[in-house]
Every structure is written in structure tokens, then in C-alpha cells.
Amino acid sequence: MMRDGALRGKRRSGEISGTTRALLYIVLIAFTVLTIYPLIWLTISSFKTTQEFQLNKLGLPIHWTLINYPIAWQIGNFGTLFMNSLFYTTASTLAVVFLSLAAGFAFAKIRSRATPLLHGSFVIGILLTIQSLMIPLFLVASVTRLVDTRLGVLIPYVGMGLPLGIYLCTEYIKGFPDAIVESARLEGAGYLKIYAAIIVPMAKPVFTTVAVLNVAGVWNEFMLVNMLVSKDALRSLPVGIFRFSGALASDYGKQFAALMIGLIPMIIFFLFFRNQITKGVSAGAVK
């Protein structure tokens, strides 16, 4: 048993003993449990009534109940909030993806003296946190009468998504051979045609990464939409969940159901796009 372990270790990458391996498993399992236990606790608690939760905060529910979900959904008006989030996320993601690809294409394949300055200013935006500009953004939105409009929410979302999108797209398109653009030029294609017919289809991997990162960012965004919108009809899901939990702070069952309503779309999204998300994070974070 020991020998087998030692041999396997050697064949892989290092001679580590069975004890060390066991220790590593313990560390990883402990960490995993700490990471997901609060989420499991939340899931279980959302199936308890508030009374049952107060008597039994840790265990499994004696009577599993689904009732919290429809009630929370109705009181919190989550249908509207969900549709608003879907709209903000879809519209801003489409804009970010196509604008990033367009600008990335120009930066990577069209020569211009303006590129170092323009591209550099976008790259700065990756580290420039939008939260530091929230109040100025709010004041500008009030002056331009964009507060309480969908456009007023969309414009900042697109502007915020562009720096990372443009950085990733430029790097990716730089990797295409110049000959592709040149031969299309020789055949008489304009740059916009090249963008639509060649670049967009070829850039599908980076396209997906930018889209996925943007969806995760916008879907979860809270501060901006909370500030720029005061009408219920325009609010997004995180704002709705925050207000719901404030109003029903001691109604635990419904509050947990509301949190689950906020969590479930992200779980589904994450299960589908796990690899793109992690790829994007590692590509975007370290330049």
C-alpha cells in the first residue's frame, strides 16, 4: 500500500508520502467544506418556515416546505426584477462584446498613432475601480437627466465593461496573422466588412470569455443601479433582494428563499461557463 503510493507519487511529480497526501486531502476538504457549508446551510434553511428555523437553525428541516419561494417571489416582485436584470445584462453584454471586438480589431490590426494612447487609457480602466467614480457618475447622470432611465444604467455598465473587454480582444486579435486582413483588403473588402465577416467569427473564444465575464459582473452589480434608479420598475435583482431582506429581516424563511432566488441563476450560469470564467479571470488579472 505504502509502496504503491510511493511509486505512484514518483511517476507523477514528487515523492510524497501517504501521510502528506492524507494531510493535503484534509486541508482541501476542510477548505471546500468552509466554502460551501454556508451555501448548503442557506439552501436547507430556505426550506424551513420561519418558526422552524428559529427552533432549529442548524439541522435538516423536519417538514420540508417550498412555500417560501412563491411567497418571496410575489412579495419581492422578483419577476420584474429578474426581467430588468436580464435586460441590463443582455444589452450591456452585447454592446461590450461588439464594441470591444471592434476597438480591439482596430488597435491590433490597423496602424494608427493614436493606438498607444487610446489603448493605454483603456488598460488603466481595468485597475481604476468604478466605485471611486460613483458619486461623480451620479452627478453627471443627474445633470444629463439620465437618472431613473434604462439608458442611464446601461451606459455606465457598457463603459465599465469595455476596459477588460478591449484588453482581452486586442491581445487575442494580435495573434491573428496579418495576412488574413491584408488578403481580404486586396480582394477589396472594407474594414467593416472584414470585422463582421472575418474577425467576429474568428474571435469566438475571446468573444465568449468577454461575454461571460461581463454577464457575471453586471448580473451581480449593486451599487450603481441602486444609486441611479429609484423606480421599482427599473430596479435589478440584487437591489430587490437587498430591499426585500431589509423589509423582512426577521422573516427568515422568506429571506433565505429570496437569497436563493438571487443565487440560483448564478449557479446555473457557473455550471455552464465554469471554464470560460476561470480562463477570463486568469487572463484579465495578470497582464
Partner: protein
């Protein structure tokens, strides 16, 4: 880089001589302008606007009709004289501290274990530890607030071990930051895990194998091969942690709203409070905003310097 630029310039000038360049330039403008306009409208213009306002006596009201006068650094001095500014800044530093000495080492250790494949199910562990990062900060904030509250499960768990324990964590101003910092640690460690995993994959495995055959221990490989190769990444992560600490609004807003007695405030929340809670003071809020932007810029400059020093990847 420089060589490439001069080359580009030469080509550009050559092209410029022909008629063809106008079309190229037009295409460039069409492709870049929409993105640039939107980006500058959201990032650059508000910054300039706020910079100007921060030097004026503007504090609230309709911007178009309010008479505005230049008053110099008053808002900045007010900010520096405000104890809540220092509380918020200190809390930002705590978040930086927990990131640099908590998230980054933890992320590195887990990434290293997973990368060396000493264990099975690496994909599973990676997914589970990364997952909290993508949940809405609002959901995470409310979840942890319920978890740590006196009526929450934490009280019950600890009371099973120490029956007399009373949960004052989030009520006592001295300890109120602890739950926040634990939530921050919980939420973002996965990010560093992913960053380290990606960069570990860039290290040539043959170098590691060769040193193993030469008799190096696991610890020596780590110390003499892996850590030097990742030094630039570690510094970049530290900078990400600092700029990320400026982004902690949502989590803290949902978890404590700065309470008790604004002891858990951070700069972004301090800015928000001055603009939207009580009598609005946009002048002060603008000064805070400029302070935060300058902090970000300092980080960017440091990143560039670090890149130059430790760069050379790719």
C-alpha cells in the same frame, strides 16, 4: 515594444503617402470611436467633473441653478479632519491586510497543491473553492450577516462548545470588522487560486522534473523554482488586493451598512454616506472620490513599475 512602434510608424508613414490611408483612418475611427466615447463618458468625464466640483463650494442642490464658487482645498481638509475618514481608511487597510496575508497565501497554497496533482478531483476542489467569487456581493453580505448575527447559527455552533458564550461580534464596535473580514476572505480567495493556477501552468514542468531528478526536495523546488518564477504575479496580486479593497462596497453595505456607529465603514461607503445619508454633502463626497481615484492611479503606476522589474513573461 519600442522597435515595434517605430516599425509601425514607418509603415504608417509609407501608407500615408498613398490615397488609401484616408479609408484606413476612417475605418479606425468608426471602430474605435463608439467604445472610446462611452468609456470616457463613464470614466474620464465624471472624474474631471468631480475634480472641478471638489474645489468649489458646491455641496448639494440643482447643479444648473446653484451658484458655484471656487474655495480651494476646503473639502479635502474637511475630509482629513473627519474621524470617519480615518476609520474608513483603516478598514480599507484591514481588508488589504486580510487579502495580502490571508487570501494570497491561501490561494497560492491551494493552487500549488492542485497544480502538483498530489490529490485527485482537482477540478472539483477548484470549482468549489472558486464558486463564492461569482455570487452577488449582496447575497453574500446578507448570508453572512444572518450567519454571524446573535440569532444566527454561529451563536448556536459556538454555544454547543462554550455554553456561556454571548455573540456580540457585530454589535461591539471593536469586533464588528471581524465578520466582515472573514466574509472578504471567504469570498475572494478563489480569485487568487485561479490566478496562481494559471501562472503555475506557465512554469516549464521539465525544469521542475529535472531538479527533482537531481535530488531537490518538494520544498526546494517551491523555494528556488516556483516562488521566484511567480514573484511578479505575487506583487500583482497584492496590487489587485489593494485596488479590490476600494471595491468592497456591496458586501459591507449588505452586511453591516457601516454599523455599529459607522465602525465598519470603508472609503466607498463613507463617500456614499456623505452623498446620500442625512444632509447631502456632494463636495465632500467628490473629494473622497478624487482621493480614491488617486489611490487607484498610484496602484497602476506601481503595477507598471513591477511589470518592468519582474516582467518578461510571454
Amino acid at each position: 515594444m519600442n522597435q515595434e512602434m517605430t516599425l509601425n510608424k514607418e509603415k504608417w508613414l509609407k501608407v500615408k503617402g498613398k490615397k488609401f490611408w484616408t479609408e484606413e483612418r476612417r475605418a479606425y475611427l468608426m471602430l474605435v470611436t463608439p467604445a472610446a466615447l462611452l468609456y470616457y463618458a463613464v470614466m474620464a468625464f465624471p472624474f474631471l467633473f468631480s475634480l472641478v466640483l471638489s474645489f468649489t463650494n458646491y455641496t448639494s442642490g440643482e447643479l444648473v441653478t446653484t451658484p458655484i464658487r471656487f474655495i480651494g482645498l476646503k473639502h479635502y481638509l474637511d475630509m482629513l479632519a473627519d474621524p470617519y475618514f480615518w476609520i474608513s481608511l483603516t478598514n480599507n487597510f484591514y481588508i488589504v491586510f486580510i487579502s495580502v496575508f490571508g487570501q494570497i497565501p491561501l490561494g497560492f497554497v491551494i493552487a500549488y497543491i492542485l497544480h502538483r496533482k498530489h490529490v485527485k478531483m482537482t477540478g472539483f476542489f477548484q470549482t468549489m473553492i472558486y464558486f463564492p467569487t461569482i455570487i452577488s456581493t449582496i447575497v453574500v453580505g446578507i448570508l453572512w450577516q444572518s450567519f454571524f448575527s446573535p440569532y444566527g447559527p454561529l451563536t448556536e455552533i459556538i454555544q454547543r462548545i462554550i455554553p456561556a458564550w454571548e455573540n456580540n461580534l457585530s454589535v461591539d464596535p471593536k469586533t464588528a470588522m471581524i465578520p466582515v473580514l472573514l466574509a472578504v476572505l471567504w469570498m475572494y480567495t478563489g480569485n487568487y487560486l485561479i490566478i496562481f493556477l494559471a501562472n503555475l501552468q506557465k512554469i516549464d514542468p521539465e525544469v521542475m522534473e529535472a531538479s527533482k531528478i537531481d535530488g531537490a526536495s518538494e520544498g526546494q523546488v517551491l523555494r528556488y523554482i516556483v516562488l521566484p518564477a511567480l514573484s511578479g504575479v505575487i506583487v500583482t496580486c497584492a496590487i489587485l488586493a489593494i485596488s479590490g479593497s476600494l471595491n468592497s462596497f456591496g458586501l459591507i453595505f449588505a452586511m453591516t451598512q457601516g454599523n455599529p456607529a459607522r465602525r465598519t465603514s470603508v472609503l466607498s461607503l463613507y463617500m456614499y454616506d456623505n452623498a446620500f445619508r442625512g444632509a447631502p454633502d456632494y463636495g465632500l463626497a467628490n473629494a473622497i472620490s478624487i482621493f480614491m481615484v488617486l489611490m487607484s492611479f498610484a496602484m497602476i503606476l506601481i503595477t507598471k513599475a513591477v511589470e518592468k522589474k519582474f516582467g518578461g513573461r510571454e
